[in-house]
Amino acid sequence: MAAGRLGFRRAIRLDGYAFLAPWLAGFCGLTAGPALYSLYLSFTRYDLVGDPRFVGLANYTRIISQDPKFWVAMKVTFTYVFLAVPLKLGFALAIAMLLNKGIRGLPIYRALFYLPSLLGGSVAIAILWRRVFSSDGLFNQALAMLGIQGMGWVTTPETALYTLVLLTVWQFGSSMIIFLAGLRQIPHDVYEAASLDGAGATRQFFLITLPLLTPVIFFNAIVQTIDAFKAFTSSFIISDGTGGPVNATLFYTLYLFQEAFAYFRMGYASALAWVLVLIIGSFTAISFAMSRYWVHYDE
């Protein structure tokens, strides 16, 4: 009897690894192994021909001190991230608040606002965007009706990045849905009590809604920021893969792509990838460290 039970347990134990086998193979062969190998490659020079040649920290010192294009990509990426994410979340929260007031037709509005965020990752939308903001595009036609002289927004270095920011903000729908779900969690009676105590809408927003929503705001901010650091398709399509005009839309990932697959500097590109990990990792760590000063988890 006891032996039978033990036998059963052993079978279950082996089963665990049988179920895990695909993941284990993927983890070792496609994630952990490659991650370690790219760490090694980042200390080498390698162009796919011959063997990687060990160069010590040369790639990293070049990134920091001798590569102006890296700093251009950093500036473009940080400008993009820290403009697009707050604007997107601000917009998402504002619309979610408007929709959360027991409005009729909520499902329709919610669906309409969500649609761009569902479609937005597609190449088709990036193509559309490029066309809408070109010199003879839809946006300038609209401006012309208001009597304003437009320009080639995607071909002008000063404005090209802002069209990408706008494209990201346009996709506020999924953040809005998460905010809506968060707003639903706030109990009615809190507002009723505040209202009886004479707190107006503005005070209610700052004293109730915002503090109780901070966990959701924090979540959205982290997810959207990490995602924004990794943005690629929109800048690739709008600039034909160049990051132009004059590197104005050179996202970090696009620069990495160019180094790896246009110039085949695999060692250097690996170092760039690890710098990106460092950037995203430290951003996340700082956000979590700071979160205890402003994020309220109730009870």
């Binding site: 983890f27 190998y37 007031k101 409005i103 309409l112 965020s117 003879d136 009615h188």
Partner: protein
């Protein structure tokens, strides 16, 4: 007091004037937001000379020639590109749902040495940017002779490399009462039978969410096909659209818009038929699209 209860947040009694104003605002905003999309679709139906002369949504007459021009606009027809996209997406869905649910079942229900350690490793990969594994994976697939095939796009999906979906399913499986699989076990079910006959049938909501989002993510993926596919005959629709811009120096925007609109159709289909599931999926899992 009267006024305050009229504007009560969350309240059902909203003053009529405020309601009308809010509806007006929301309607205007949705029109502005969706105008570019509608304009693209209507442009694809306009006669070629009309696209940039009018911002109107209504074509003077319906002209489907842009679809013909676009379809045959590259050396290979868009029929091939859409078929390629479909093959890659369907295989990815099958691979992802199978491998992730197997791993999730092991994490949620089975005990074996090293389980918690593996689980922690899996969570760790959630944060790892794809770019770190990109170059070694490319070298690996290059050495395997897989470049310019669908294998680099599909095989990783069969190996549960997208940890997010494992995590999602673990959360769901943990919510299923344990009494059910214990009863099945007493009746002599093997672990695989429990997975197959108890867990999967009870998990349709999370499986459907995984199917839909995997399909949409794969259909829209641009980066991996751009790197791995070289021969135009193997292009997915996203890469094909990109090379359409490059080739159309004489700017056949009608044809490009026609093919772009078609490329959005599958995602739009999911939006129309599975909207509730999509929205619930986002609200409960925090999916970023």
């Amino acid at each position: 007091m009267n006024k305050r209860s009229g504007n009560n947040i969350n309240g059902l009694r909203v003053s009529t004037w405020g309601g009308i104003r809010r509806h007006a605002m929301l309607t205007c905003l949705s029109i502005v937001m969706l105008y570019p999309l509608l304009w693209m679709v209507s442009s694809s139906l306009k006669p070629a000379d009309e696209i940039f002369t009018s911002a109107s949504l209504i074509p003077s007459r319906i002209d489907l020639s842009a679809y013909r021009r676009g379809w045959f606009g590259l050396d290979v027809s868009f029929g091939v590109f859409f078929l390629n996209s479909l093959i890659v997406s369907v295989l990815s869905v099958i691979g992802n749902v199978m491998s992730c649910s197997l791993a999730a079942f092991a994490f949620a229900r089975l005990t074996f040495p090293g389980r918690n350690f593996c689980f922690a490793l899996m969570l760790g990969t959630l944060m790892l940017p794809y770019h770190v594994v990109l170059i070694p994976q490319y070298i690996l697939f290059l050495n395997l002779g897989w470049i310019d095939t669908f294998l680099p796009l599909v095989v990783p999906k069969f190996l549960a490399t997208d940890a997010f979906f494992i995590f999602l399913m673990v959360q769901f499986f943990r919510g299923i009462p344990r009494e059910l699989d214990e009863a099945a076990r007493i009746d002599g079910c093997s672990a695989f039978m429990i997975y197959r006959k108890v867990m999967l049938p009870l998990s349709t909501p999370v499986l459907a969410t995984a199917v839909i989002f995997t399909f949409i993510f794969t259909w829209d993926d641009f980066f991996a096909p751009l790197i791995y596919l070289g021969d135009p005959g193997n292009y997915t629709s996203q890469v094909a659209l990109r090379s359409f811009i490059d080739s159309s120096n004489q700017s056949d925007w009608g044809g490009l818009f026609a093919m772009s609109s078609l490329a959005l159709v599958p995602v739009l289909g999911f939006f129309i038929f599975f909207q509730k599931l999509l929205i619930e999926g986002i609200a409960t899992t925090g999916m970023k699209r």
